[in-house]
Amino acid sequence: MAKRGTTVSAQRPAHLKVAPELPRKGRIPEAFRYWDLYLIMVPGLLFFVIFKYVPMWGTLIAFQDYSPFAGIRNSPWVGLEHFERMFNSKEFYQVFINTLLISLYKLFWGFPAPIILALMLNEVRHMLFKRSIQTIVYLPHFLSWVIVGGVLINILSPSTGIVNEILKYFGIEPIMFLGDERWFRSILVISDIWKSAGWGTIIYLAALAGINPQLYEAATVDGANRWKQVWHITLPSLLPTIAILFLLNLSSVLDVGFEQILILYNSLVYSVGDVIETYVYRVGISQGEFSYTTAVGLFKSIIALILVVLANSATKKMGHEGIW
């Protein structure tokens, strides 16, 4: 088969992108010749149309007083009323601030964690040790937030949790971590780092593996010690990866990992833990305010789109390939 393949390609120079010859009956338009290839795309395309584009069209209800009985065609239009309500709402203001704060805290504390961990792993020369550590720190990534949440609720419980047992040992009063406004965001940030820092190292370790070893050899010859090699070779080589990931993270600043919050939060900490998506879920699905929460969701989606476009042009400006 391979032999025949080469003869076919020999007849046709590689630089000419010509459609493969098929037995023709008369003049069949190009598209019909591959009708079956178009056909197999239909189920997937239908999915995108129905579950991605119909909901985009469905955001029109943000400008209506939508009622499930009247449907989108017959519900009355109200213009920007829901957006006005949103911008005048103290509750929404708090939710928006919470979203930004939690997200920025996670970025500030969580972004450097995988970089540091990757640099530490990169300095390990003992391969078995390195691989064992990697296996262990990747593990939390594969567990659902339900499970991680269950573990957290268990260890942070004020009555039986091990964390409070340890605090008690040092004479500190038990803290109700998940029911305390002062602690809730810290718990979100710490548990997020715990779950994702290890997995986050992969992309940096890949970038580190791509560094030309001759650079290190040359530096050794020039008398640079390990610290200097890290400072002058490893870190500068990582910088493009760091920059791109940072921009990507910034552009998704309104995505705060709401599954985590949905699992961990309760009415005691709504004031610090309620974020846009949990708010939409709570008010929209549970209280049935479809139009208002669609407006809130649309506001978030538009900001996200703008941020992604900006991040893409920024990476291109820095001289890298864009995200798309």
């Binding site: 992108k17 598209a31 290839l37 119909v54 567990l143 499970i147 260890i155 004020p158």
Partner: protein, 289 residues
């Protein structure tokens, strides 16, 4: 290579720190495993650390006897197997034509897919679509609303593009149809990419709980994650209630721990395979086309 004293110190510190990090990653689990194997008395008195006290398997016995647990387990397995199959099949069928440079109209279709990653209608409009299709409270609500992953389509498209064109030509010479070429040549040759995507989706299906929270009220259809969530939240929301009620619930602490571990075991069983493939998969995603 000669090491200076500074480097020796650095190495020791580095190794020690990494061991601490690894212990921090594992400790919460060791603690929960220890609880699941300990007696009620030991847990309530706070004696259990990372090692079980007064060993017993009573909690696991309870879990195994619980019909609701098994029903949820079954729902989760079914949605993972069927959902992953649908994901991979539809993504391949979309990716292959998009990878053929001679096909017209690929640009707009690619744009439709990529744009859906950057902008979405949000939770409520999607919910209304699912509702209007009468998928609420049916098993299909787990499968159809997440039937295709845009990311998988892009990765598979790039992978298919890298398969030598000559293989397609020779198969066609042998009389293979366009679709036959996909199933007989491209899919077998792209097994690494397909397996990676399958694992991605399988983990997502197994761990998913928000779609069930949104779309399912029927307890018989609760996947394992929702079953667990109920079990956990029952405690956390009522934690401040009366003392004797609290004490009664604490008695269930080891049962809860055992259920958590039982729900984690399937992931742990496939973890070695997962790790190997996922790391390759991340690299696949970085190939652009």
């Amino acid at each position: 290579m000669l090491q200076t004293n500074g480097e020796k110190v650095f190495n020791v510190v580095n190794y020690l720190l990494l061991i601490v990090v690894a212990l921090l990653a594992l400790a919460p689990f060791l603690h929960v495993i220890a609880q699941s194997l300990s007696s009620h008395r030991a847990i309530v008195s706070g004696e259990v650390g990372l090692w079980p006290i007064e060993w017993n398997l009573l909690a696991y016995n309870e879990v195994v006897k619980d019909n609701a647990f098994w029903r949820s387990f079954y729902v989760s397995v079914l949605r993972t197997v069927l959902g992953t199959f649908v994901n991979v099949a539809l993504a391949s069928m979309l990716a292959y034509p998009l990878s053929r440079t001679y096909l017209k109209g690929r640009g707009p279709i690619m744009f439709i897919i990529v744009f859906s990653m950057m902008f979405n209608g949000g939770i409520i409009p999607t919910y209304l679509v699912v509702k209007s299709l009468n998928l609420i409270n049916t098993f299909w609500a787990f499968i159809i609303p997440m039937a295709v992953g845009a990311f998988a389509v892009i990765v598979l498209k790039n992978f298919f593009q890298a398969v030598p064109e000559e293989l397609e030509d020779s198969a066609r010479m042998d009389g293979c149809s366009n679709v036959g070429i996909l199933f007989r040549i491209f899919i077998p040759l792209s097994m690494p990419a397909i397996a990676t995507m399958a694992l991605f989706h399988a983990v997502a299906h197994w761990n998913a709980f928000f779609d069930a929270v949104l779309y399912i009220q029927n307890r018989n259809l609760f996947p394992l994650q929702v079953f667990l969530r109920e079990l956990i939240q029952f405690n956390s929301t009522n934690a401040s209630l009366m003392d004797n009620l609290e004490r009664q619930m604490i008695a269930n602490e080891s049962l809860k721990a055992a259920t958590l571990i039982a729900a984690t075991v399937p992931i742990l069983l496939v973890y070695p395979a997962l790790q190997k493939y996922f790391i390759k998969g991340i690299m696949l995603g970085s190939v652009k086309g």
